[in-house]
Symmetry: C2
Subunit: 336 residues, 2 copies
Amino acid sequence: MLELRKEVSMGIKEIAKEAGVSVATVSRVLNGTKFVSEDLKQQVLACIEKEGYVANHVARSMVLKKTFTIGLIIPEVSELYHQMVFSQAEHVLEEAGYKVLVCRVKDTVSSVRVYLDLLLENRVDGMLLMHETSNPKVYDQLKKSQIPIVLAGIDIPDLPFPQVRIDDFQASYDGTNYLLSLGKKHIALIGGWGYSVGDKRLQGYKTALEEAGLSFDPALVVPGNYTVESGSEAMERLLASKKTFDSVFVLSDEMAIGVMRTALDAGLRIPQDLSVLGFDGIALSRFLNPTLATVSQPIIQIGVQSATHLLTLLQGEKVAPVTLLAHRIQTGDSVG
Amino acid sequence: MLELRKEVSMGIKEIAKEAGVSVATVSRVLNGTKFVSEDLKQQVLACIEKEGYVANHVARSMVLKKTFTIGLIIPEVSELYHQMVFSQAEHVLEEAGYKVLVCRVKDTVSSVRVYLDLLLENRVDGMLLMHETSNPKVYDQLKKSQIPIVLAGIDIPDLPFPQVRIDDFQASYDGTNYLLSLGKKHIALIGGWGYSVGDKRLQGYKTALEEAGLSFDPALVVPGNYTVESGSEAMERLLASKKTFDSVFVLSDEMAIGVMRTALDAGLRIPQDLSVLGFDGIALSRFLNPTLATVSQPIIQIGVQSATHLLTLLQGEKVAPVTLLAHRIQTGDSVG
């Protein structure tokens, strides 16, 4: 207790000196008791603002019961997509006076749990969650938290928090139909399964094939973990399978970069021999060679809307449980 | 004060109940006084470990005077390079039982200051700094901090903290000489100036040209802010200048991606009409089309070594003021 008491007392003394009031008056303001006039309170709070960061932080947090900090949990894969969403969200939150702490988590239960603990320990006012885990214990902990949480770009049915995302089934269905409309008959699929968004995208692909009267071939569906390297490896597996395929639908642009490199190295021309369709619509997609056709998520809006929802929740108001934003097909030279 | 006292007291009561000791005993352990036997202290600490996160965090921090958290400050540009360094550093720190909080800062004074405040408020045990700012006030604050700090991949002469980096003058000098050795006579340069690392790279380029008996043409030196987009814009400026150039040395791989796209769109063949040499050696460089030749930083070692140095400092030991790691030329199809 010694540590904390000393630190806060130091802050109070400095504030009292600067505000020209007694330590008792500052203490009364910090404790929120009603025996201080509004003028005097404002005078003290103004000095708190001018004081050093420790006093400022501790005192302001105590008076307002806020830390003015938002925690953001992102997975360590698919970096460029998450960076883009995060940049937009951060901008909105900073404009509103919040600071953002980021935790990049690995896809392991312990990693997710450690970082949730960390953010909650530091008493963030709210959280943006962009990472899905399969461990129910982590979700139990989140459900018990008293702070506003918004799911950005993910869909976790178990959690009672507002979601801001696209319709992943429909987006994958539309992407597959785009390739079918160009006459592709053998469409390979690379992505990650076993979680909500990935499974919905797999279902969208299957449904589109079924409606087109094409049979679903499990050998053309290859897992990837959303890194460039895993896209390259998935493409190597497809090539080694000796299966016929005229196009690959890759469920992240970063994996698509690896897919294209491996296809080019195998002597395939893109798109003459193989069409490659990505997913996400990261800024880099337009700078690749060939430029990448992709199912484009409204990345800016996902970031802005999820942050705006979080600010609304922080003001004690409600938001829609699910906000669906529109995806679109971004054309590019990788599909033809 | 009420808030803090209440919160800590709640933790203490729970711990006392679980440990089967009095609140006074727990309080004595937390205050670090010597009137508690080692057995009883261990019993209390074991219960603290089992308790909820708030009690755990506050109590453990108080007893050990540590937060087991490292702050990491990275700029929001040149994302892939910083992500790679950070991933390596994070791995080393996590293995040692530390958690990592990331702040991505914009290149504005207020942004850097806000995030430094944030990390120090949360009382991190140490910091890895990967961002350079031109504001001396920020550095004054850093100098006053009592925690270990390591500069990873940057060089700020004003700060008395250990540096882990390459020799940026030599790396740029070697990159320029690599292009000269292939017969290039008109080498354009794209990068950011006005800070230590950038200026040293500019000097390395100038020195190599001078030693080769070539004149330095300021019109061939174009600024870029290390994003893909800025590389594209810098290349547009070079093309619009109507100057003759047979190669471009681009001081980040991400900018080089933008440079190559704009060159291809202008009908230039790479490397037949234009050689493009990058800087950093990010993983993506090998997956681009053409594959990118680049001055490769030892990214893994920078991350591992800076984290290892930080752990050494956290144990109260000393490390070398400057640890220079070796760069190398990574060949690729973009230069020929």
